[in-house]
C-alpha cells in the first residue's frame, strides 16, 4: 500500500508549487523518477497479486473460471444439465452460498482463504481452489 500513497504525495507537491512559480528542472526530473519508481512498483504489486492469489474453479476436471482472490465477486457456476453452485469471494475469503446438490456439504463447508484450500461439491464435480494465497500452517485436514 506504500506505492499509491507516494503518488498522492508527489502530485500534491506539483500542484502546490505550480501555482506560484515555475517548476525547476531538477524538480521535474526528481518527480519523474519518483513517479517511475512508484508506477513500476505498483505494476509489480498488481502483477504479483494477479498471479499470486487466484480462485480456480474446475468442473469435471476442466477449468471453468479463474478469478482474482482479492476482488470481491459472486460467481454462479451453471452446468448444461441445470446443476448450479454459487461462490462468493469477499475480503480474501471464499465460500459457497448456494447449490442445488442433494447433500449441500459444499454450502456447509468453512470459508477458505489459504493457499491450496479447496471446497468440493462432489455430486456436481465442482472444485473451488485457492492458488497462490497466503501459505497455510496446516498441510491437510482430517475429517
Amino acid at each position: 500500500m506504500m506505492e499509491p500513497m507516494n503518488i498522492v504525495r508527489v502530485l500534491k507537491h506539483i500542484s502546490g508549487s505550480s501555482g506560484c512559480k515555475m517548476l525547476k528542472r531538477n524538480d521535474v526530473i526528481m518527480t519523474g523518477i519518483v513517479l517511475l519508481i512508484a508506477l513500476v512498483s505498483l505494476g509489480f504489486f498488481f502483477l504479483n497479486k494477479k498471479e499470486g492469489s487466484a480462485v480456480v474453479i474446475t468442473v469435471n476436471g476442466k477449468i471453468y473460471q479463474q478469478i482474482e482472490l482479492e476482488q470481491n465477486n459472486t460467481i454462479k457456476i451453471e452446468q448444461e444439465n441445470g446443476d448450479y453452485n454459487e461462490v462468493v469471494i469477499q475480503d480474501g475469503y471464499v465460500w459457497m452460498t448456494d447449490a442445488d446438490c442433494p447433500d449441500k456439504l459444499c454450502v456447509k463447508h468453512n470459508k477458505i482463504h489459504y493457499n491450496h484450500e479447496t471446497i468440493v461439491c462432489l455430486p456436481h464435480k465442482v472444485v473451488v481452489e485457492i492458488i497462490g494465497g497466503e501459505e497455510n500452517t496446516v498441510d491437510i485436514i482430517a475429517k
Partner: protein
C-alpha cells in the same frame, strides 16, 4: 479396464534440501474425485512434476482396485466384489480376490478388539438407515426415521460368525440369506494404509495421502530448516466457525482419522441424524461431536474412530490405553475436549 484420469498436479513450492547436498525436491499436490465417493488428495515431494504425477497415477490405480473390490452398491465387469458376496448371501460361496479376504480378516480382528463395535456384518441394519437417509436428503420435506421394528427385525441377521471365509478356496459365503456386509467404517482406511505401504516401496518416501479426510502420512515434509513432521488439522465440528480446525497435530509415518456427526447426516423434524449407528440402540450415537484417532495403521484408525464413537468415554479410554502407540481425542456434545494420556504430545505448540 484401464481408465485414464485427470489428476491435477500443482507445484506448490520449490525447496532445497541442504542436508542431503545439492539434491532438489519440490512439493506437489494432486487430487481426484472418482474414488470412495469422496475427495482423495496426495501431497508430497519429488524431484520433478513427472515423477510426482507417476506416483499419483500409481496411487490412483491401486486405490481404484480397492474401491471396486470393496464397493457394496455397484457391479464392475469381471470383478467379484463385496456386493457380489452380498448378492449371493444364502445362495453360494463367491470366489474373491485375496484383498477382500485380507480386509474381512482384518475387520473381524478389529471387531473382536473393539468388543463388537465395528461389525462389518451389520449391513442389514445399516442399509435401512442408508435408504432412509438417501431419500431424506433427496426430499427433505418427507424425510422419515426408520421404525424400531424394522431395525430390530434385521439385528438377528448381523452375526459375524456367519461370514464364512475359505482361505484355501479363496471364497466368502454369508450363511444367512438376509445378511449384508457393509465395510464403510473400515475399507477406506484399510485401502489407504495398503496403498501408502505400496507407494512407499515404490520410492515415494515423503508424502501424505488423504482419502476423504482419512489421513496417512509417509515420512516427513521439508522446509528451509530441513525435515519436519506433517501438520495435520482436525476439523472443527462447528462448520460455521471461522476456525476450521480445533487442533493441529504433528505427524510422521502416522495416521489420523476423525469420525464426526457433521460428515453425513439428514434432518427429520429439525433434528439431525448422522451415519454412525450404535449397534446397541440401533440409532445414531449421540455421545460425541467427533472422535479422532492417531495410530500407525490407517485401517485401525478408521475402525477405532467409528467404534470409539459408539462407546462411552470411559469404555473408549480403557480401550485406547490398552493399545500401544494409539491415542484418541473426543469432542463432547457440550464442546468439552477429552484426551487419551499420550494424545497431547502430538499437538503442535
Amino acid at each position: 479396464m484401464k481408465k485414464v484420469v485427470t489428476i491435477f498436479t500443482v507445484l506448490a513450492m520449490i525447496i532445497n534440501i541442504t542436508a542431503c547436498g545439492p539434491k532438489t525436491e519440490q512439493r506437489f499436490e494432486s487430487s481426484f474425485l472418482e474414488l470412495f465417493d469422496t475427495v482423495t488428495t496426495i501431497v508430497g515431494y519429488a524431484p520433478d512434476e513427472k515423477t510426482f504425477t507417476d506416483y499419483s497415477q500409481l496411487i490412483y490405480n491401486r486405490l481404484e482396485e480397492y474401491h471396486q473390490l470393496y464397493d457394496i452398491y455397484n457391479d464392475y465387469d469381471g470383478v467379484n466384489n463385496i456386493k457380489t458376496i452380498n448378492d449371493n448371501a444364502g445362495i453360494k460361496p463367491v470366489k474373491v480376490n485375496q484383498k477382500i479376504i485380507d480386509l474381512l480378516e482384518f475387520s473381524i480382528q478389529m471387531d473382536q478388539m473393539t468388543n463388537d463395535n465395528v461389525n462389518v456384518a451389520f449391513g442389514a441394519v445399516l442399509s435401512i438407515w442408508h435408504d432412509y437417509r438417501t431419500k431424506g436428503i433427496d426430499d427433505p420435506i418427507s424425510a422419515k426415521l426408520p421404525s424400531m421394528n424394522e431395525l430390530q427385525g434385521m439385528v438377528k441377521h448381523t452375526d459375524i460368525s456367519k461370514v464364512k471365509i475359505d482361505k484355501e478356496a479363496s471364497t466368502v459365503y454369508l450363511e444367512d440369506p438376509l445378511m449384508r456386509l457393509d465395510v464403510g467404517a473400515i475399507a477406506k482406511g484399510y485401502a489407504t494404509e495398503m496403498t501408502a505401504k505400496y507407494i512407499e516401496e515404490q520410492g515415494f518416501t515423503n508424502g501424505m495421502i488423504s482419502v476423504g479426510g482419512n489421513v496417512r502420512t509417509i515420512g516427513t515434509k521439508f522446509d528451509e530448516a530441513g525435515t519436519k513432521p506433517w501438520s495435520v488439522g482436525i476439523q472443527n465440528p462447528d462448520q460455521e466457525s471461522a476456525q476450521t480446525t480445533v487442533h493441529i497435530l504433528q505427524l510422521e509415518d502416522m495416521s489420523l482419522v476423525t469420525s464426526g456427526v457433521y460428515e453425513r447426516y439428514y434432518t427429520v423434524d429439525g433434528k439431525r441424524y448422522h451415519h454412525i449407528i450404535d449397534p446397541e440402540t440401533l440409532m445414531p450415537s449421540e455421545l460425541f461431536q467427533s472422535v479422532s484417532i492417531v495410530c500407525k495403521d490407517s485401517g485401525m484408525a478408521d475402525a477405532l474412530s467409528t467404534s470409539i464413537f459408539n462407546m462411552t468415554l470411559e469404555e473408549g479410554k480403557n480401550l485406547i490405553e490398552s493399545l500401544e502407540d494409539t491415542e484418541a481425542f473426543w469432542i463432547l456434545n457440550d464442546g468439552t475436549y477429552e484426551y487419551s494420556s499420550g494424545f497431547e504430545a502430538y499437538i503442535r505448540k
